[in-house]
């Protein structure tokens, strides 16, 4: 890609910005990624704190550490936060930072749309969590089952915060979905064919298909719930003729099951990047990995009713969804065997990222096996709504997603921030997390089979649950200690002066060919790709183990997209619209709060209008393709 000279006026505008303005108006995918990561980590800590309080409440029988009402808020917000405000956006941090680097691009396809996704996400997360300050956090469970979520049984603003907050977050996900799908298909470096892409890019592509086709369904479900709660219709309530709460469950899980693959597929991608590098071997069965991932995603749209076996759908529907669910074990098994095949006979480098990646495989297998148990409908009737289910989905969501995201954090930290995390502390983190995790969640299989219902506020002594719950609580505290070690590790690296090299692990992909942290334009010269594992190919061609440290260039000649205020303002308009609907509901006292919504729509419309006519800086010359 040829470049043109930075215009002096533009360069001056760049230099003038303060640090705050720079971050608020940034359209750089790497800064957006860091903002995603930082805000999501804060929400992750809040969600973790909620989990610790839940565990302390359940530590011993007949405990009254918190009130039952607050307990409902805790488990609802724990689930909601961890899914929508932690795992998804931490994955989004990696999408943002690394997808352009992995495919050899200078930025995403729509940098300002990307910034808008970020701000919509942050404002949505703040919006939901703001409810705690009013003492009215969502309290109806993270899947908001009707009719419990209808106005009749949930009179406060609690579930209003939940439904409107999720609506806001959905907008962020959909915008990011369009952006990353387009980016991966259309912004690849010359020669980077689809079947040469790093597996993480593939996982993001498939994940975005899931996002794009499942989030509209929850959007509709939430619109109907909003109509019920705010405008008095009865889509989901029995109170007036004909409403059917089952419609909520179906719409929610048509979204909800693809959603769990949205949480796990990026984790698959990260592990598929890490294992080859630390085994010094290419990924085993690349195309099988791609097709099994696509197959998992496709099947993900045909299994949603296995979340609803207890609702009495009849034998035909039960059998169909049982079989479809078991079918998913096949492509998942293919992936697990391919990961094992990758490390088999490899020259293993026992660094922290590999520890977490191996931990991921082991824990995910356990979670996968209990998943197959749920697919068996008669067994599921015993397990549904017990702690067995809690154990299962924490093994796949924590043992799966969080282990993998942590592996990714240790792996990519040097690239993102130019500092190495300490290996000793990293391994301590791993062992605390592995032991704490299993001590927390393995006993839940047993307490679940003994009949302990999930979401229960407390339990009497003498049911055989005391020891198991105590074990879980101790485990949860060890887990927390593990993350404290991680935070200490991060602070330590932050303060150290040692600069990370460009390629600390002997990487196979393009991000390791540029300085750590990358300069704003990523690649001073656009890379050309001739095969998979392109950096290994370059090293082979040069006959070296590590390429010479790339020089940091001045970047004077490279055009970058201009910073913009409009993404943030667009997001603010969306927030205002939802706030207007929220206060229109239960707490209106004559004041036309609907005006807040109208103002929000106008602000969003104006911002989009100004945004579309804002000049965008881009190279004016180009190489024809």
């Amino acid at each position: 890609m040829a470049t043109t000279i930075l215009e002096p006026a533009h360069a001056a505008a760049y230099a003038k910005r303060s640090v705050l303005v720079e971050w608020l108006t940034t359209v750089d995918h790497k800064k957006v990624g860091i903002l995603y990561g930082a805000s999501a980590f804060v929400f992750f800590l809040i969600g973790g704190l909620e989990a610790e309080i839940i565990r302390l409440q359940l530590m011993k029988p007949d405990n009254h550490l918190v009130s039952p009402e607050f307990y409902n808020q805790l488990f609802t917000m724990h689930g909601t936060s961890m899914i929508f405000l932690a795992v998804m956006p931490i994955s989004a941090m990696f999408f943002n930072f690394f997808v352009p680097l992995l495919i050899g691009a200078r930025d995403v396809a729509f940098p300002r749309l990307n910034a808008m996704s970020l701000w919509v996400f942050i404002l949505g997360g703040l919006f939901i969590n703001f409810s705690f300050l009013l003492g009215a956090a969502p309290n109806g469970g993270w899947f908001g089952y009707a009719p419990l979520s209808s106005r009749q049984f949930s009179t406060g603003v609690n579930m209003d915060f939940w439904m409107l907050g999720l609506q806001i977050l959905g907008i962020a996900s959909l915008a990011a979905g369009v952006n990353f799908f387009t980016t991966i298909l259309n912004m690849r470096a010359p020669g980077m064919t689809l079947m040469r892409m790093p597996m993480f890019a593939w996982s993001v592509l498939v994940t975005q298909v899931l996002v794009l086709l499942s989030f509209p369904v929850i959007t509709v479900a939430l619109i109907l719930l909003t109509a019920d709660r705010t405008f008095g219709s009865s889509f989901f309530s029995y109170t007036t003729a004909g409403g059917d709460p089952m419609l909520w469950q179906h719409l929610f899980w048509v979204f909800g099951h693809p959603e769990v693959y949205i949480l796990i597929l990026p984790a698959f991608g990260i592990v598929s990047e890490i294992l080859p590098v630390f085994s010094r071997k290419p990924l085993f069965g690349y195309s099988a990995m791609v097709f099994s991932m696509a197959f998992i995603a496709f099947l993900g749209f045909g299994v949603w009713s296995h979340h609803m076996f207890a609702t009495g759908m009849g034998p035909l529907a039960d059998s169909f969804f049982s079989l479809a669910t078991m079918l998913i074990a096949i492509p998942t098994g293919v992936k697990i065997f391919n990961w094992i095949g990758t490390i088999w006979g490899g020259s293993l480098q026992f660094k922290t990222p590999l520890y977490f990646a191996l931990g991921f495989i082991a824990m995910f297998i356990i979670g996968g096996l209990s998943g197959v148990m749920h697919a068996v409908q008669p067994a599921d009737l015993q397990q549904t709504d017990t702690y067995f289910v809690v154990a299962h989905f924490h093994y796949v969501l924590f043992g799966g997603s969080i282990f993998s995201l942590t592996a990714g954090a240790y792996y990519w930290w040097p690239k993102m921030f130019g500092k190495m995390l300490d290996e000793g502390l990293g391994k301590l983190h791993f062992w605390l997390m592995l032991i704490g995790f299993n001590l927390t969640f393995f006993p839940m299989h047993l307490s679940g089979l003994l009949g302990m219902p999930r979401r229960i506020y407390t339990y009497p002594a003498g049911l055989g649950l005391d020891g198991l719950n105590m074990a879980s609580t101790i485990g949860a505290l060890i887990l927390a200690a593990g993350f404290l070690v991680f935070i200490y590790n991060v602070i330590r690296a932050w303060r150290s002066d040692a600069q990370a090299p460009a390629d600390p692990w002997g990487g196979a992909t393009l991000e390791w060919s540029i300085p750590s942290p990358p300069q704003e334009w990523n690649f001073a010269v656009e890379p050309v790709v001739a095969e998979k594992d392109v950096l290994w190919a370059m090293k082979r061609a040069a006959g070296v183990r590590t390429l010479p440290e790339p020089a940091r260039v001045s970047g004077k000649g490279i055009h970058l997209p201009s910073p913009s205020w409009w993404p943030l303002l667009t997001a603010s308009g969306i927030l205002a619209f939802m706030v207007g609907i929220l206060v229109k509901g239960p707490v209106t006292h004559g004041f036309p709060f609907g005006l807040v919504s109208v103002a929000g729509v106008l602000l969003t419309a104006l911002s989009i209008f100004k945004w579309s006519y804002e000049p965008v800086d881009h190279p004016t010359t180009h190489t024809p393709h």
């Binding site: 396809a109 729509f110 940098p111 300002r112 749309l113 808008m116 907008i171 959909l174 915008a175 979905g177 369009v178 952006n179 799908f181 387009t182 298909l185 259309n186 912004m187 690849r188 010359p190 980077m192 794009l212 086709l213 499942s214 509209p216 369904v217 959007t219 509709v220 479900a221 619109i223 109907l224 109509a227 405008f231 008095g232 219709s233 009865s234 889509f235 007036t240 003729a241 004909g242 409403g243 419609l247 719409l251 048509v254 997209p561 667009t570 969306i574 969003t604 419309a605 989009i608 209008f609 945004w611 579309s612 006519y613 804002e614 965008v616 881009h618 190279p619 004016t620 180009h622 393709h625």
Partner: protein
């Protein structure tokens, strides 16, 4: 809302940019968005069909629906699809007069359709069918209301492009600006092609 954002995003950005596939990034993005919208309208249509017969209280489809008015609306929307494709043809040929004429007609059609829907909704409310009267009404207003919102957004979008065209800002090299708006517009038309028989004719003919 998201539609408008993404189409306007890099309004001038990627025309000349290197792309991996032989397709403009914004065009690929609007197609992606359209794919996503399929699920949006699928969910709304499912909801309507499930609740179509839930009108124990208040009027049902046979009490309020009239074929001539919606047929007129349908025809207008179909015509507008034809008009916008002619406008795009004009833009690609650099024929300013053709572009302006057909685009103006498209925008007028959009306005007529929205007007038709406002009239229809008002009429239904006068017939005693409010948003919460029964579930047939709620799901009908939700489905057609969101479709109408799409038409309104499309009309605004095409309106801004009409202004651009008038100022000569849509030369053949930037015809893609109109093309993506036209794709969105056709999709909205195609949704109505499903709504018209499924919501109106099938509810009447039973």
């Amino acid at each position: 809302m998201t539609a408008a954002v993404l189409d306007h995003d890099s309004a001038h950005a990627h025309e000349e940019h290197h792309t991996s596939l032989p397709v403009n990034s914004r065009k690929l993005a609007i197609w992606t968005f359209i794919g996503s919208e399929c699920m949006f309208f699928a969910s709304l249509i499912t909801t309507f069909v499930i609740y179509r017969d839930s009108h124990a209280k208040g009027p049902g489809p046979k009490d309020v629906f009239g074929v001539p008015l919606v047929t007129a609306g349908t025809a207008v929307l179909l015509f507008s699809s034809f008009f916008v494709v002619m406008a795009l043809n004009g833009a690609q040929q650099g024929n300013r007069k053709k572009l302006l004429t057909w685009l103006t007609l498209t925008v007028l059609c959009g306005m007529f359709f929205v007007g038709m829907q406002v009239y229809e909704f008002t009429h239904f409310v006068h017939e005693g069918m409010g948003y919460t009267t029964n579930l047939f009404a709620s799901s009908f207003f939700t489905l057609t209301g969101f479709h109408g919102t799409h038409v309104a957004i499309g009309t605004l979008w095409l309106g801004t492009l009409l202004k651009d065209a008038y100022k000569g800002r849509i030369p053949p090299t930037k015809a893609v600006n109109l093309e993506i708006a036209a794709l969105y517009w056709h999709f909205v038309d195609v949704v109505w092609i499903i709504i018209f028989p499924v919501v109106y004719l099938m509810s009447l003919g039973r």
